[in-house]
């Protein structure tokens, strides 16, 4: 039942006539307590390309409590590429809860009929997307890494990793609308904000009364900020793998990270051995990262690691095996013993930075 069943390449699949009027690309803008999850802007960047390929408009869907802040978010969505925003403001949308958000988003879809709807694969996005897709009885593709419009059918082709990331598959929703997909944070590039851009707001009044909502939020306990590694948004990451052999040696990774003001990352075996906490694992079952610089030392570059860091601007790999797969996709490589190269690299960066400081 798990097999991506081989289907005979069916010829043309007709869209269900109920959906012929479904037009435009939507991105759900995820905001909690007034803070927008950056994945929403990443999705607007991606949604822009899809909308342009189809020659349709790109809309952001903004939901939240009444107030200036919620409306402001629409303005930000225009900066990141939206042509218009659907705005639903209601007290029942103050905290995220599945039921009012599902009801509201489903109502918006039924009313304004998008052909594509994207959500972040965050805890909120996965919760909401699964409920909404079921209510609408449409297809939902999880954790996509690539979204393109198929030229002849104009359908959305969503690519996602399968079987622990070792292969990719392309999935389509041909007969139903909207075509829904979620994308993990940091998988798509962050578009540049253009503060000159503006757009129009379509306000939608909901008629959901609080007493009809069964689940109540009693409390929100924010995470302590400092003690959690913030890999996903780090600008520089130094990662170590099994090549370090002993936990003491892994200190070399921390030393380099300290000099660079970088976060420490790791491959899965390092996390499993308990050398670093789970939040530092980079890859398919860990974090997706997009730093400006990713240094991978003693990491072989298994596909499950690669999918989590492939989007880094510059990748430097250090490995004593010239045939290690990491050299197939890193930008720069040093073939050598990480235990010697890393301290040298730490010193070189330290000297470089000291020089820059002195220069002013």
């Amino acid at each position: 039942m798990n097999e991506p069943v081989k289907k005979p390449a069916r010829k043309k699949v007709e869209l269900d006539p109920r959906f012929v009027n479904y037009k435009h690309v939507w991105v759900f803008i995820e905001a909690e307590r007034g803070v927008v999850h950056p994945v929403s802007w990443e999705l607007l960047g991606e949604g822009r390309k899809l909308a342009d390929a189809l020659g349709v408009e790109l809309a952001g869907v903004v939901m939240g409590p009444p107030g200036e802040r919620t409306r402001q978010i629409c303005g930000e969505a225009f900066h990141y590429g939206a042509d218009l925003c659907y705005l639903a403001q209601d007290e029942v949308l103050r905290d995220y809860r599945n039921e009012p958000y599902t009801r509201a988003l489903t109502e918006l879809v039924d009313t304004y009929q998008p052909e594509i709807m994207l959500l972040g694969a965050s805890t909120l996005g996965r919760d909401l997307a699964g409920s909404v897709a079921t209510t609408l009885a449409t297809g939902l593709v999880a954790d996509c890494t690539e979204l393109v419009i198929e030229a002849d059918s104009r359908n959305l082709a969503s690519t996602r990793p399968t079987f622990g990331g070792s292969l990719l598959c392309t999935i389509m929703t041909q007969r139903h609308r909207p075509q829904m997909a979620t994308v993990r944070p940091r998988v798509m590039a962050m578009p540049d904000a253009d503060t000159a851009r503006s757009g129009r707001i379509v306000e939608h009044k909901l008629a959901i009364i609080e007493s009809s909502i069964i689940t109540k939020v009693l409390e929100f306990i924010p995470d302590a900020q400092q003690d959690k590694p913030q890999l996903a948004f780090a600008d520089i990451i130094v990662s170590g793998g099994r090549g370090f052999k002993k936990q003491e040696n892994f200190q070399l990774v921390w030393d380099l990270a300290k000099v660079l003001g970088a976060e420490v990352g790791a491959s899965r075996p390092i996390v499993q051995a308990g050398w670093v906490e789970l939040d530092r694992q980079v890859g398919q079952s860990g974090k997706t990262v997009r730093p400006k610089l990713y240094i991978a030392a003693g990491i072989s570059g298994a596909i499950q690691h690669r999918v989590g860091m492939d989007g880094s601007d510059v990748i430097i790999a250090i490995n004593n095996d010239p045939n290690a797969p990491i050299f197939d996709f890193a930008h720069y490589g040093i073939v050598g013993n990480a235990m010697q190269i890393l301290p040298a690299l730490t010193e070189a960066f330290r000297a470089q930075i000291a020089l820059a400081r002195r220069a002013g």
Binding site: R126, G130, S166, I171, I214, V335
Partner: protein, 281 residues
């Protein structure tokens, strides 16, 4: 207190190999296991039974060989197990999977009301995290995803108080039974079954339900036919067009290597150099 726990049998992905030439999955000999995330759901249900008494029913939709996974759950202490299995279910996406499971749970409910449905956070093969929300919607149960702790259950008022992992913090939620909980990983530790349970698991008459027994009249709403998503091609990721530029020096001394590396990187990426100086402050 009656909990239904949804479990899925999955291939032990750590042991899946991809054929280097044909890029197909080599499944032969890959052992099937209970989806590891589902064990947290099962353990939580068993703990509620320890606290409040009641019944734990496990259910899976899968091929006949999934019986092994169900018996394993019985050996941990589950009371009853149902295998929902029919050729018509093959090729199901999450919409069709949640349809079949919701229908079967509807049947279970006819004999004994269900207070709680548990699922894992996600599976390690399909990995969508969509089936739990799907079942909740279809049965109109309150949905509580990523639950890290069940604080209280008030049977009189039929209320439950849970902690849910949200973006940037923990939500404390109160809702009504019945509801569906997707359990966060690492929140409890699976017990070892005792001897009695192991013997019972081996003898227990397993219920096997086909489509009609699960209460599904229309064959078009399950399996491939009931799935709006269509899986197209499966392929290996493309290698980057260029391999890494390997830095070498005459002596390959670490010091000289890294100096050469930095000179090259900073010439080709001047913005990065400024970035590093900014961050190091």
């Amino acid at each position: 207190m009656h909990s239904v726990v949804c479990i899925k049998q999955v291939p032990d992905s750590a042991q899946i190999r991809v054929h280097p030439v044909t890029n197909t999955i080599m499944r032969q000999g890959v052992p099937a296991i209970i989806n590891p995330y589902d064990l947290f759901a099962l353990e939580e249900a068993l703990r509620l039974k320890d606290r409040f008494g009641g019944t734990v029913t496990v259910i899976t939709m899968g091929p006949p060989m999934a019986e092994v996974a169900l018996r394993k759950c019985l050996s941990f202490g589950a009371d009853d197990a149902i295998l929902v299995s029919d050729r018509a279910f093959a090729g199901a996406d999450t919409l069709a999977t949640s349809y079949a499971l919701a229908a079967a749970i509807g049947k279970i409910r006819e004999n004994m009301p269900v207070d709680l449905i548990f699922t894992g956070k996600q599976t390690i093969d399909g990995d969508t995290a969509q089936v739990g929300p799907g079942i909740a919607r279809r049965l109109d149960y309150q949905l509580l995803t990523y639950v890290s702790a069940i604080r209280e259950i008030d049977h009189e008022k039929r209320e439950i108080l849970v902690e849910r992992r949200a973006e940037g913090g923990v939500q404390v939620l109160k809702t009504k039974l019945p509801c569906l909980i997707t359990m966060l990983e690492g929140t409890n530790e699976m017990r070892y079954g005792d001897m009695d349970d192991m013997f019972r698991a081996a003898r227990h008459p397993l219920k096997q339900w086909d489509r009609l027994a699960a209460g599904i009249e229309d064959p078009n709403v399950v399996g491939l036919k009931g799935s709006p998503t269509v899986v197209g091609k499966v392929f290996a990721p493309k290698p980057r067009s260029q391999r890494a530029e390997i830095i070498e020096t005459v002596d390959n001394d670490p010091k000289n290597l890294v100096v050469t590396l930095l000179a090259k990187v900073f010439t080709q990426h001047p913005k990065l150099e400024r970035e590093i100086e900014r961050l190091a402050k």
